[in-house]
């Protein structure tokens, strides 16, 4: 069950999210890009199949099927994520990330949380907020000084009786301003270094929790990115994720890194969706337009670039499916996941760039979709590990060394 053999589950996901992308995402994409606003109505509408707490619900809601619990059996999660991500990226990358943003916070809770913590998280996420919006969650890990390098967090969580007191500032936090619940990572014991780091579940409105400035971004503007400040926020120890044992494993940070590995193919696939969107836009224009009285389709100058785009898109897509297939079969896919992410990001940038050039002055119009996709595409070479980090991972896989 993979790219070579069609499969009802995957084609079902492709069809369902594909029409969602076309009919529900595309019509509002320009508006949310212009206003830099979250697509709250769409998020509510999508809640039944793209739940903000999907990580805790399992993917039953989306596909109606549970994975076989037998760990030896092949799963399909990774491939479903890859197929779905391409369609959502094809619709609008910014909206796709708004729909998925809470998942970053939900998944560590799903993986490491106690039943009590999961219940608390779900409780905080249930219902609508005062604006009638669905509740969203924020994974508060990055800090101003940590970009690709997630070690050396400066935020502290110092024990004080049954509580921890959290102090520090977080940056690049998806849903940082709007979140109903935050999963914040802080060091409980600086002397232990990374081993002291723990995640905490903190509800919006906790005294000292101050959502900070919202970033104005080049692209993916429908997804909210903001700073969050923790000014001596008291959190009960029951809301600390993972064990107290001062080991690096206990932090769950390594799991978090594993999670990044597992999401890379889907991230690459989302970039493929952006590339496909620009490619199809150009192809449609070519089919319907003429150039100095000759059909655009009669010009090698344009058609050979479309052929090139189709080639690259197909190649990127196959790398993503390959990496996901390996993950679903419990096989090592670290290098393949990085290839999928790096190649997809490159293809998205390449295709949107060339499509703009070939469209000429038309691409200068405000709200032109290809220009938006060009801006959206860039982030895929930066977040979840930059293109350089991906190549570093692949290189280390070849020689065991980290090149600098």
């Amino acid at each position: 069950m993979d790219l070579f053999h069609d499969n009802p589950l995957l084609s079902g996901v492709r069809q369902m999210l594909g029409s969602f992308a076309k009919n529900s995402m595309r019509p509002i994409a320009a508006k949310h890009d212009r206003d830099e606003s979250m697509p709250w109505d769409l998020m509510k509408m999508a809640q039944p199949f793209l739940s903000q707490t999907a990580a805790l619900d399992g993917r039953k809601k989306l596909t109606g099927i549970e994975d076989d619990p037998d760990p030896k059996k092949a799963k399909t999660n990774a491939r479903i994520a890859v197929v779905g991500s391409e369609e959502l990226g094809y619709g609008c990358a910014g909206i796709a990330l708004a729909l998925a943003g809470s998942g970053l916070a939900a998944s560590p809770v799903a993986r490491m949380g106690t039943d009590e913590q999961k219940a608390e998280f779900k409780k905080l996420m249930s219902g609508l907020d005062e604006h009638g919006h669905v509740k969203v969650a924020a994974m508060a890990l990055s800090e101003p000084a940590t970009g690709s390098d997630i070690s050396g967090l400066k935020t502290l969580a110092l024990p004080d009786g049954d509580h921890f007191v959290i102090r520090g500032s977080k940056q690049w936090i998806t849903n940082g301003q709007s979140a109903a619940v935050y999963v914040v990572w802080a060091n409980t014991d600086p002397s232990a270094g990374r081993a002291g780091v723990r995640g905490f579940i903190v509800a919006r409105g906790a005294p000292g929790l101050v959502p900070g400035k919202k970033e104005t971004k080049l692209g993916i503007r429908a997804s909210e990115t903001a700073q969050v400040h923790f000014e001596d926020v008291r959190v009960h120890k029951d809301m600390m994720l993972g064990s107290a044992a001062a080991t690096e494993a206990a932090t769950g940070l390594s799991d978090t890194k594993k999670m990044l590995d597992s999401t890379r193919p889907a991230v690459g696939s989302q970039a493929v969706g952006i590339a496909r969107a620009a490619y199809e836009f150009l192809l449609e224009r070519v089919r319907s337009s003429s150039l100095h009285g000759t059909p655009m389709a009669s010009h090698q100058h344009i058609m050979f670039e479309l052929a090139e785009m189709q080639m690259e898109i197909t190649a990127s897509r196959m790398l993503a499916h390959r990496a996901a297939w390996l993950a679903d079969h419990h096989l090592d896919n670290v290098a393949e996941a990085s290839m999928a992410k790096a190649h997809g990001a490159r293809t998205a940038q390449l295709v949107t760039n060339r499509a703009m050039v070939l469209l000429g002055e038309e691409a200068l119009e405000p709200d032109h979709p290809v220009e938006k996709w060009y801006r959206d595409a860039k982030i895929y070479d930066i977040f979840e590990g930059t293109g350089q980090i991906q190549r570093r991972i692949i290189a280390k896989h070849l020689t065991g060394q980290n090149p600098t």
Partner: protein, 364 residues
């Protein structure tokens, strides 16, 4: 051969560079947010000789003798380092003024120069995909179709239109003008215009000679190329400074080989594009047969360079490159217009070569 600037050029470059670094860069960031240029732009730039530099002195302008595209390229490079949108406004009068001064009727000169000398704007539109319908009635032209997006068109009193076989000056009065603020050069007073049987009086038709039209477009290509290089260099300057401060994995990211190379390669292309643009400008000033080809190639290479340099600058900044608090995402947006204006330069070259096997004289 001599690659050194003479004293006049050196003086102009130093003056404009100071203006660009001190004022344009800061104004540009604000103008990008608001979508409008600062009021002080016109007064300050006029002092430096912008806007009327292509109007002959005898008709009230500042042009003594023949126009120097080389000086314009050097100047354009400097102002674009400050802000591409403001640079576009500073340069937009040149093609209309110079074309009218060279081929225009006395009436056209009188009308256009009066507007420009009183702080008005004019701009150039290239009907690169031949979508305008132009009919002649008597000596007048009647033009129907869509113009743009064209920078400065929202504030221009006249637009110089280069169609396939005609070069003419159209008054904007009576056009349905829609001001826009696109993603790139946001403050450049862009607009699109709908023309319905828009009348262009015979006295405003400058030429039917393809060679004349090609020359005017070559002026614009060199100016675009020089400004594109300016934006590319600004991106690389920012990236270099940032890379030497930002620490990851225990060292400034500027010491990682991959980022050194990313920047260095973009810089090499940029430097080569700058030379090509300057060479083309020099050839235009001497009216050499290869000038048009050089101008077009300069724009091809400068377009590649600015797209690449600005994207790579964002990459070097990482997450910070993606937010408006830092200067490089603006540069990535501004880069696009250099390739998009007047259409895909490579396509134009391919069609020209097809149309007349090697008719356009090659430069080496």
């Amino acid at each position: 051969m001599d690659f050194a600037l003479d004293d006049d050029q050196e003086l102009i470059v130093q003056t404009v560079r100071k203006y660009s670094d001190r004022d344009l860069r800061a104004w540009g960031l604000e103008a990008d947010r608001t979508g409008t240029p600062p009021d002080k732009l016109v007064a300050s730039a006029t002092e430096l000789g912008f806007f009327v530099d292509a109007i002959p002195a005898e008709t009230g302008g500042m042009l003594e003798g023949s126009y120097s595209h080389l000086t314009r390229a050097l100047r354009g490079y400097e102002v674009a380092r400050g802000c591409a949108a403001l640079a576009a406004l500073l340069e937009c009068n040149v093609e209309p003024a110079l074309a009218v001064a060279t081929w225009g009727s006395n009436h056209a000169k009188a009308v256009l120069f009066e507007s420009l000398l009183n702080g008005g704007f004019a701009t150039l539109a290239n009907d690169s995909r031949a979508t305008l319908e132009i009919s002649a009635s008597g000596g007048d032209l009647r033009v129907t179709g869509k113009l743009g997006p064209v920078p400065a068109l929202a504030v221009a009193s006249h637009v110089l239109i280069a169609s396939q076989d005609r070069l003419f000056l159209a008054p904007t009065a009576g056009m349905a003008i829609t001001p826009i603020a696109p993603s790139g050069w946001r403050a450049a007073r862009w607009a699109t215009a709908q023309l319905a049987d828009h009348v262009v009086p015979a006295a405003f038709v400058l030429s039917y000679d393809p060679a004349v039209i090609a020359k005017v477009l070559a002026w614009a290509r060199v100016s675009l190329a020089a400004r594109a290089v300016g934006v590319a260099v600004a991106a690389m300057d920012h990236a270099k400074a940032y890379a030497s401060e930002r620490v990851q994995f225990g060292q400034p990211i500027g010491r990682f080989e991959a980022l050194i190379r990313l920047r260095d390669d973009a810089m090499t292309t940029t430097m080569a594009a700058r030379l090509l643009a300057i060479h083309a400008a020099w050839a235009l000033d001497r009216d050499l047969p290869e000038a048009n080809d050089l101008a077009s190639r300069a724009r091809v290479l400068a377009g590649d360079a600015v797209a690449r340099a600005t994207v790579d600058a964002v990459q070097i900044y990482g997450g910070y490159g993606f937010v408006t608090d830092f200067p490089v995402e603006k540069l990535m947006r501004d880069a696009r217009a250099f390739e998009a204006l007047h259409g895909d330069e490579r396509l134009g070259r391919v069609l020209a070569e097809r149309g007349a096997e090697g008719r356009n004289k090659e430069s080496m």
